[in-house]
């Protein structure tokens, strides 16, 4: 009996495989999933500000425009590939962290188009906690950093100062800056944003001195006071190539990017995303609710939407 059963299974298996391979003879669809149907897919990078953007856009589009929205977690580099292939329709907050891909897809392949500014201004720099800067006021100039290097020593950095570097996918040229300025610091990268935040939270609570790559908007800024260390002013292209960079970071108008086909469709959803524009303060409010007060993104978005009708009404496409 067993024998028969096994044979039957095998025959069935071969049949199914055969059918599958027959159906596989044609050329495959190159554009699968995502933007082909009425569902809009947002690429949502892993930081909380991006979560806030996505939550508000999702809530408004689903309630006001009756469009189904799915936010998929992906960092900038991956998101650009997804925008190119149509697996994602839009990214709401791009920090210009992947210039190579941006050039390739936006300028050369023309599969990704800009969706205008988000309205939020991004700023990256080197920061020390305020309690430390108050005691040592001249630490805020990068030229004086060597004087204080011994304060920042840890077991990881040995006899140099410990510089807490950024998460791998973020725009950065700190390692090169430290080398080019001859700073007595060791660049120790964080493997993930979450890891960096937790470390800073821990050091801040213990009132330890630290020097870190830090940025605004960032929900933790509501809870901790940081002071920026002045770096030489950014001029266009001064960080290229990174090995010779001797300047700080560009103050960034964060930008939206759309899949070209999605943008051309000119649907209500595409119009809405192009219109979507808010301020750093708005975003921090929602992000602070999500991360600081641990509200669910949907609830935080709903709270903001209730309080700011006049802002978001302008985003709705005109009927």
């Amino acid at each position: 009996m067993k024998n028969k059963q096994i044979r039957k299974t095998v025959v069935a298996g071969i049949g199914i495989l055969g059918a599958l391979s027959l159906s596989a003879c044609g050329a495959a669809e190159t554009n699968s999933g995502g933007g082909t149907d009425d569902k809009v897919v947002l690429a949502e990078p892993s930081w909380v500000g991006a979560q806030a953007n996505a939550a508000v856009v999702k809530k408004l589009m689903e309630d006001e425009l009756d469009v189904k929205v799915e936010a998929k977690q992906m960092d900038e580099p991956v998101a650009f590939d997804a925008l190119d292939s149509g697996k994602a329709d839009a990214i709401l907050e791009d920090w210009h962290g992947v210039p190579k891909k941006e050039k390739k897809y936006v300028d050369e392949k023309k599969t990704v188009v800009s969706g205008g500014d988000l309205g939020v201004v991004g700023h990256i720099g080197w920061f020390v906690p305020k309690y430390y800067a108050d005691k040592n006021p001249d630490v805020t100039d990068y030229k004086n950093l060597n004087k204080y290097a011994k304060d920042f020593r840890t077991s990881e950095s040995g006899d140099k100062g410990h510089f807490i570097g950024a998460a791998p996918s973020y725009s950065q040229h700190d390692k090169e800056l430290i080398k080019n300025f001859d700073l007595d610091y060791k660049h120790i990268p964080s493997g993930a944003e979450a890891a960096q935040l937790k470390e800073i939270q821990r050091l801040y609570e213990a009132k330890k001195p630290f020097l870190t790559y830090w940025w605004e908007p960032q929900w933790m800024n509501n809870k901790i006071d940081m002071v920026e260390v002045e770096l030489p002013k950014h001029t266009p292209g001064c960080e290229e190539p990174a090995a010779k960079a001797k300047c700080g970071y560009e103050t960034n108008q964060l930008e939206k990017f759309l899949n070209a086909d999605f943008a051309k469709s000119n649907s209500d959803a595409a119009k809405f995303i192009k219109n979507f524009k808010w301020t750093t303060k708005d975003q921090n409010e929602v992000a602070g609710d999500i991360a600081g007060k641990k509200m669910k993104p949907e609830d935080a978005a709903e709270k903001w939407i209730k309080a700011n009708k006049s802002t978001w009404e302008k985003w709705l496409p005109k009927k």
């Binding site: 190159t30 979560q51 996918s169 890891a195 939270q201 999500i290 991360a291």
Partner: protein, 681 residues
């Protein structure tokens, strides 16, 4: 400066060598002659000592031992070219149009289909059908096993619902279903091939070895370039990761079939194929079930990891929560993952047990009919529920019936990390200890490895490999080191290597101590078992943040994560080895008046040496597989390169680092694997 550990290895060898007659605690002055005698008797020990000496002297004299610049080859340029070609041709090249994209499209549509099926069935339908499947797997009768399996299934589904994790759980289950199916089919086919043909087995072996030590992150990256983000890459990575155990165990089952049974079947005139169908395959069923069980567990851990490249479900939930340092939510999702693991493990284990029982007892006709009927009922119910399910109740678990445990969990974790992080009086706390570990162990180890000349290290690896294993193992180890050097990753690899050694030593100490306790004290075993299960199945992402709270963003954090992950296997292997020591030997030693301690040190541990070695080997593989995870929390070196390569989509950075990890892995595997046996089967 590399001396602290390497002489230790040398000493281990010498202390292993003396004959057992030599009693402990001999007068000091008698040691030298016996030591020399040992050296004279075994040239191998002498060789190790010479190699150690060379390493120490050359490190002290040379100063810097980095691989010479001129001997590296440029692999970045070709990899960048490949990267560019892939991006340009993803939609044009025939390889993609007629082959790869089919895979990716069918993967995507099958997962979508299952998700929408779950959706249509509603939560009531999924729970009912799931419970029924569990019960049927356990034997679909009123026996304890069947009821227990069914009950577990019901409990897990309810728990996931109550924890408010229903939707992500369904997404994870859908991805799992497809992944397990694909991995099982692929594993079965490869296993059949390897079990029936010696040549095929020889070809597959190194492939499987590589797949097992290769960090999953390293192959996520090329997959990402080929298939883009989302389900297909995640699925294929999962299948690559999970198919080897299925294939290995199938092959093992086919090969270890009772020769008497085979002979009997041959003498009854069965042809080659008949013998395979009627004797070899049925006899291998138990092993195959074990393989399926392993494949499922590996699928689960991978499905969670794949959230990094845009797959959805519980992994995504965890990853998202980490961004806002929400350990409570991450832990809740982690608990759901552990529960699913328990569910799948118990169900497949019950099915395996039942198969075993059927073979010995034989099923009655009636039972067979009932079983068929139950499976038919399952199919019918899936149809019914998917047709009307959503009208009976909501699609997802009702919100009213959920309990929010994330806040209390969060505060519990916070309190715990605060207390043992820096709140222990006198002893300081983990922050201080970790600092000591870094300063006194990791830093010397790293600078030691970095100052040792590459040729001296290669010599040492070669000698150890030759002594522990065969000349072939030695050669493989040396070639691996050479590859690392040629890729220009020598320094980073030595950094990682020092961390792996640190992690390994900790793992072995903790693992062996707890293993001895587990083997000897019944109560410890009962208490530890659920803890070990949780440690093995809890997604690593969950404990990254608490670990940082404990020891800060540092190499120690990565090492702790690795130790948590690798310890359970070592504890289990040690305990098992001790327990299976020949009872006659134990009895004999007891009747000769040995105390419990003497028994442990003089009989149990020496007799269990083989399984201790297997434990070391497993420890190496597992610690190494955490190198990349460690890169996420301050481990730096190779792990960080892989992470950055992945998140920047930079093949020329991620892939070489991944290959270097594999090389380190194979090297360590070979020099810890005794000749003449393959411990991982």
């Amino acid at each position: 400066m590399s001396t602290p550990t390497i002489p230790e290895q040398g000493e281990q060898k010498t202390s292993d060598a003396p004959s057992p007659r030599q009693p402990d605690g001999r007068p000091e002055q008698q040691a030298p002659p016996s030591g020399l005698a040992v050296l004279a008797r075994s040239p191998k020990v002498l060789a190790v000592l010479v190699a150690v000496l060379v390493v120490v002297v050359s490190a002290a004299v040379g100063g810097s031992g980095v691989w010479p610049q001129g001997w590296t080859i440029d692999i970045r340029t070709p990899l960048n070219d490949l990267d560019g070609w892939l991006v340009d041709n993803r939609e044009k090249s025939p390889i993609f149009l007629y082959f790869l994209l089919h895979i990716s499209n069918s993967a995507e549509s099958s997962v979508d289909a299952i998700i929408s099926l779950f959706d249509a069935m509603g939560w009531i339908g999924v729970t009912v059908v799931g419970t029924l499947v569990g019960w049927a797997a356990g034997g679909s009768d009123l026996s304890r096993r069947a009821l227990r399996t069914g009950g577990t299934t019901l409990g897990v589904f309810i728990a996931c619902g109550v924890l408010n994790m229903w939707a992500p759980t369904m997404e994870t289950l859908a991805l799992m279903t497809v992944a397990v199916f694909a991995a099982a089919v692929l594993g079965l086919l490869l296993g059949l091939g390897a079990g029936l043909s010696d040549r095929f087995e020889k070809i597959l072996r190194p492939v499987f070895d590589t797949m097992q030590v290769m960090p999953a992150f390293a192959y996520l990256l090329p997959l990402l370039l080929m298939f883009g983000v989302g389900v297909p890459s995640a699925l294929i990575a999962t299948v690559i990761y999970a198919a080897p155990p299925m294939a290995r165990l199938t092959s093992l089952g086919l090969r270890s079939a009772d020769p008497a049974a085979l002979e009997a079947s041959a003498s009854l005139g069965a042809s080659h194929w008949q013998r395979l169908w009627t004797a070899r395959l049925p006899l291998a069923r138990k092993q195959m079930m074990l393989g399926l069980n392993q494949a499922i567990m590996m699928c689960l851990s991978m499905v969670v990891l794949a959230s990094l490249i845009g797959s959805e479900g519980l992994g995504d939930e965890i990853y998202q929560a980490l961004g806002s340092l929400d350990v409570g939510t991450a832990l809740t999702a982690g608990v759901a993952v552990v529960l699913i693991a328990v569910l799948l493990d118990r169900t497949t284990a019950a099915a395996g047990e039942r198969l075993d029982a059927t073979v010995t007892v034989g099923a009655t006709r009636l039972m067979a009919r009932i079983r068929m009927a139950v499976w038919g009922l399952v199919l019918a119910l899936i149809g019914v529920f998917s047709a009307v399910g959503s009208s009976i109740g909501e699609r997802e678990w009702p919100d009213v019936w959920t309990v929010d445990v994330t806040r209390p969990l969060q505060s519990a974790v916070d309190w715990l990390t605060e207390t043992i992080g820096s709140g222990i009086p006198v002893l300081g706390g983990t922050v201080v200890w970790a600092k000591g570990f870094t300063v006194y162990v990791l830093n010397p180890l790293r600078s030691g490895l970095e100052t040792t000349p590459w040729w001296a290290l290669a010599l040492l690896v070669g000698v150890i490999g030759w002594i522990v294993g065969t000349w072939r193992a030695a050669l493989t180890g040396v070639i691996c080191l050479g590859l690392i050097g040629m890729m220009g990753l020598w320094e980073k690899s030595m950094d990682t290597f020092s961390q792996v050694i640190g992690g390994l030593v900790l793992t072995m100490v903790i693992g062996i101590v707890l293993g001895i306790l587990t083997a000897r004290v019944e109560r410890v075993e009962r208490m530890l078992r659920p803890v070990l299960d949780t440690m093995q199945t809890m997604p690593q992402f969950v404990y990254l943040i608490p670990v940082i709270a404990l020891v800060g963003l540092s190499r120690s954090a990565g090492i702790i994560a690795a130790v948590i992950y690798a310890c359970p296997a070592v504890i289990r292997i040690t305990a098992q080895g001790l327990r299976y020591v020949d009872p006659a030997a134990m009895e004999a030693s007891r009747s000769l008046g040995a105390t419990s301690r003497q028994q442990l040190l003089g009989v149990q541990l020496p007799l269990a040496r083989k399984s201790l070695l297997v434990g070391v080997n497993q420890g190496v593989v597992l610690v190494l597989s955490m190198v990349v995870i460690a890169g996420l929390i301050g481990g730096g070196a190779l792990g960080y390169d892989v992470v950055q390569g992945l998140s920047k989509g930079d093949l020329s950075q991620g892939l070489p680092a991944g290959i270097a990890i594999v090389c380190l892995g194979i090297m360590l595997d070979r020099i810890t694997q005794p000749a003449g046996e393959r411990p991982r089967d």
